[in-house]
């Protein structure tokens, strides 16, 4: 009996260990998004002013219709003032230019000149860029930090969301498999 008493601390700590192991799976950054497997929210954004790729301003309004064209796509929320956005930008560029995925951008709480300069300098992977200078669309999308990336299937349903800069692992594991065969 007395020996069992001395085993208690070990049992207690092993129990804790099991919980920690299970807890590791849950990424604290993946605050459950209300949008996963749900239709994307309604929004409408004017195009980013002064962007080189936009000859006809009205043509480039970004709204929910752009997400229901039948072609799956990526929606990337970014800003020129955001450092992690610079870090992930080559990946976004690669997804658009090498993987041939349709990528739209939401330019979040930014200055138009700074944003278009940024795209000119680092490359412009976006088909359309909505200019969300007051952050309203960001609220609709539940954005709580830039960058954020959404994967959306052809009928406007949100399949995957990542908060923070994309990494090659996330692209390989969570993004590319979805587009395989659907593009």
């Amino acid at each position: 009996m007395r020996k069992v008493l001395y085993l208690l601390p070990l049992m207690f700590c092993l129990g804790l260990g099991v919980f920690f192991y299970l807890g590791l799976d849950g990424d604290p950054r993946s605050v459950p998004s209300a949008f996963i497997n749900k239709p994307s929210p309604e929004f409408s954004l004017a195009p980013l002013p002064g962007r080189a790729k936009a000859p006809f301003a009205n043509f480039d309004v970004l709204n929910r219709n752009d997400l229901t064209s039948g072609r799956p796509l990526i929606l990337n929320v970014w800003a020129s003032w955001c450092v992690p956005c610079v870090a992930e930008h080559p990946l976004v560029d690669r997804l658009a230019k090498e993987e041939g995925i349709l990528v739209h951008g939401i330019n979040y709480r930014d200055k138009a000149v700074a944003a278009s300069n940024w795209l000119n300098r680092l490359g412009d992977p976006f088909t359309k860029v909505g200019f969300d200078n007051d952050g309203k669309a960001g609220i609709e999308w539940g954005v709580y930090g830039v960058p954020e990336t959404f994967v959306i299937d052809g009928d406007g349903t949100v399949i995957f969301k990542h908060a923070g800069a994309l990494t090659p692992e996330i692209v390989e594991k969570n993004i590319l498999p979805f587009f395989k065969g659907r593009n």
């Binding site: 007395r2 020996k3 001395y6 085993l7 601390p9 070990l10 700590c13 092993l14 804790l16 260990g17 919980f19 920690f20 192991y21 299970l22 807890g23 590791l24 799976d25 849950g26 990424d27 604290p28 950054r29 605050v31 459950p32 003032w81 955001c82 450092v83």
Partner: protein, 665 residues
């Protein structure tokens, strides 16, 4: 090039750790002095190598070497020098290197000052230290290399989180880690004792100074962190029960319990397996803190960048270190000879009470910290446990300890007389009761807990002084006799009295701040005045200014009391363009009895600014109390009975004053 030297030094230290954890252990088993002495050499060399590695990292930060990834992510060439240096440990990789540096520093100290230790015990202790170092250096080399280079260096770095660019926080981690990691020595001693199957008074005497040193560092570190939160986060609070704060507080509670129970082992040869368990738990909680901060299982404002791969690695280290030592405990502890018996009312009984409540308090904080994780794993939803839980559980648990900590030292060993102890303390008791009554009248009946707190603070402060007065027979004997007694009183007794006084002062500060603060939030234009308690704050002016790497809006408040000018304080809102972040700097004027505290929020000249003004009674006492406690620890540490290298003197002294327990050698 220098970064590579740092990296190689780390690899060499890794190899030495592998040697240190294996050969000396085998040597101790075989009784081979040569192999055992190897531990000494490797511990010293390991420290030198890690120091070199750390210097290389600091150098990379100071010279803004943007070919090192860690420097890019955490530094910027415009940063002031102090924050370039502190940036070296203001991130996951660098702080791990600091952690290992302090670990090897303690190893080197045991190797060089531990000459009086039996060679077996020293070899085993250092071998356990070697295992810890091995695990953590491996963690760094395989998942978190601070010297990682990038092929194309950018023109400048991304800067350090502005919240961390602060003198209070720059020196917070070194102290905190000194405490965290210092507990590794107690842990190693405990595991070595379990391997030997022998725990005696001598063992307790060797362990105590290390625990004391670590405890002092931990106290100062936690105090600095709390001070920083107080003036930098701008909420007027000093403790938020944030998971990361708790992660440092839980080991502190266990270390405090360990300090007290080691006395019982030293003096009475009792509570042995309990003391060993505490030594294991104290360091285990330090490791757990490391895990919680870095693995991302809990969300916190302080959390480092998280990475599941790192989490699995630390969890593995945890399982090996904690699981291994507790398995050893389960096997060996039952066979430890139980020592001296004692009555519940005795010095031992008092110390046991202290241990019991401190441990339960530590487990309560642990439960509150981990509860959100449990629910998350059980998929019962995401919750966060807030201050109400901790205040409701932790506060009441402290009451018995606070009441007993004055009485305990007056009880004699084995069997104490509580009535005579209490009669010595009649004055402290009367003052405490009067303080409770006055507080109740002053603040109304709803303030029963604050009133008890005020009473407890008075009880501790006066009672600790009276306990010392009783010991030296102040006013009961001739002045010459009192003077002789004062000189003969061991420093560890003075240390205890000072540290207990510190607790009283700290408690007064905590109660004053939480229960009696006056707060006022409003919109103010220049020239407007607001009354806060008996003071008047006038917003005199708001100016823009340019700092080294930030721009700030500085509000100048003039504080008056009646017609007399008290002070003028500056509250700032700083914007860091590189990091795109804001910080607040509270404007604080401290009288010894209260802090006058002003924070400025958003606003403009035409619309006015949001301001928050506080009168925080006794808040400075929180930090005075912490410093007094740490000083108490240091005074106790200077006791020659604990001083390393003076065992024979201590034996003689112990014999002359008290019978020493059998088995001490």
């Amino acid at each position: 090039m220098i970064a590579e030297i740092g990296h190689f030094a780390l690899i060499a230290a890794f190899v030495l750790a592998a040697v240190q954890m294996s050969f000396p252990l085998y040597g101790a088993h075989r009784g081979d002095i040569g192999l055992m002495d190897l531990a000494k050499t490797t511990a010293l060399a390991q420290f030198a190598l890690v120091l070199l590695s750390f210097a290389a990292l600091v150098n990379a930060f100071v010279t803004s070497d943007f070919s090192v990834l860690n420097v890019i992510q955490n530094s910027h060439s415009d940063k002031p020098l102090l924050y370039k240096i502190s940036g070296a440990w203001g991130n996951h990789e660098g702080s791990l290197l600091l952690w290992v540096l302090i670990l090897t520093l303690f190893g080197a100290m045991v190797a060089s000052f531990g000459r009086n230790l039996p060679p077996q015990l020293r070899a085993r202790t250092l071998a356990i230290q070697g295992m810890i170092a091995f695990g953590f250096i491996a963690f760094m080399l395989f998942t978190s290399n601070p010297f990682e280079r990038v092929l194309v260096p950018p023109a400048n770095g991304q800067g350090l989180n502005p919240l961390l660019q602060d003198p209070g926080l720059a020196f917070h981690p070194p102290f905190l880690y000194f405490g965290y990691v210092g507990l590794s020595i107690s842990f190693s001693f405990a595991v070595a004792a379990l391997i030997e199957g022998k725990v005696d008074a001598a063992w307790a005497r060797w362990v105590r100074p290390w625990t004391l040193a670590a405890w002092c560092g931990l106290s100062v570190g936690i105090g600095l962190g709390s001070w920083w939160a107080y003036y930098e986060l701008g909420w007027g609070g000093f403790w938020f029960w944030d998971p990361v704060e708790n992660a440092s507080f839980i080991p502190w509670l266990f270390a405090t319990a360990l300090l007290h129970s080691a006395i019982v082992v030293e003096k009475r040869d009792a509570l042995k397996s309990w003391t060993i368990l505490l030594a294991i738990l104290a360091f285990s909680m330090s490791l757990l803190g490391t895990f919680l901060v870095r693995s991302g299982v809990l969300t916190s404002v302080h959390a480092f960048a998280t990475d599941p791969e790192r989490g699995v690695f630390i969890l593995l280290l945890l399982v090996i270190a904690i699981g291994g030592s507790l398995t050893l405990f389960a096997i060996r502890a039952p066979s430890l000879q139980p020592g001296g018996l004692f009555r519940p009312i005795s010095r031992e009984g008092g110390l046991l009470l202290n241990n019991l409540f401190l441990s339960v308090a530590a487990l309560t904080v642990l439960l509150g910290t981990l509860y959100p994780l449990f629910l998350d794993v059980l998929e019962a939803g995401k919750v966060s446990v807030g201050p109400p839980y901790f205040n409701a559980t932790f506060g009441p648990l402290m009451v018995p300890i606070l009441a007993a900590m004055v009485v305990g030292p007056l009880l004699s060993w084995k069997r104490g007389d509580i009535l005579s102890a209490l009669s010595t303390l009649w004055f402290a008791g009367t003052v405490a009761l009067a303080a409770i009554a006055i507080t109740l009248i002053y603040s109304g009946v709803d303030g029963i807990l604050p009133a008890i707190g005020v009473g407890a603070a008075a009880w501790i402060i006066i009672g600790s002084c009276m306990e010392l007065a009783e010991r030296v027979k102040l006013f009961q004997s001739s002045a010459a006799d009192t003077w002789r007694r004062l000189r003969q009183t061991p420093r560890s007794v003075y240390g205890m009295t000072i540290a207990h006084l510190g607790v009283g002062v700290l408690l007064a500060g905590v109660i004053g701040t939480t229960a009696f603060k006056t707060e006022s939030v409003q919109n103010m234009k220049i020239g407007q005045s607001v009354a806060v308690s008996n003071y008047t704050f006038t917003l005199d002016n708001v100016v823009s200014l340019q700092g080294p790497n930030y721009v700030a809006e500085r509000a100048v408040f003039v504080i008056t009391e009646g017609d007399s000018l008290i002070a003028s304080v500056n509250a700032e809102r700083r914007r860091y363009p590189v990091e795109q972040d804001m910080t607040t700097e509270a404007g604080i004027h401290t009288t010894w009895l209260a802090d006058l505290y002003a924070v400025i929020g958003e606003g403009s000249r035409s619309a006015g600014w949001t301001t928050r003004l506080y009168k925080n009674p006794l808040t400075p006492w929180i930090w005075f109390g912490t410093i007094i406690m740490a000083i108490g620890g240091l005074v106790s540490l200077s006791d020659r009975r604990l001083r390393i290298g003076a065992p024979s003197n201590s034996r003689k002294k112990a014999v002359s004053s008290r019978p020493i327990p059998a088995g001490a050698q």
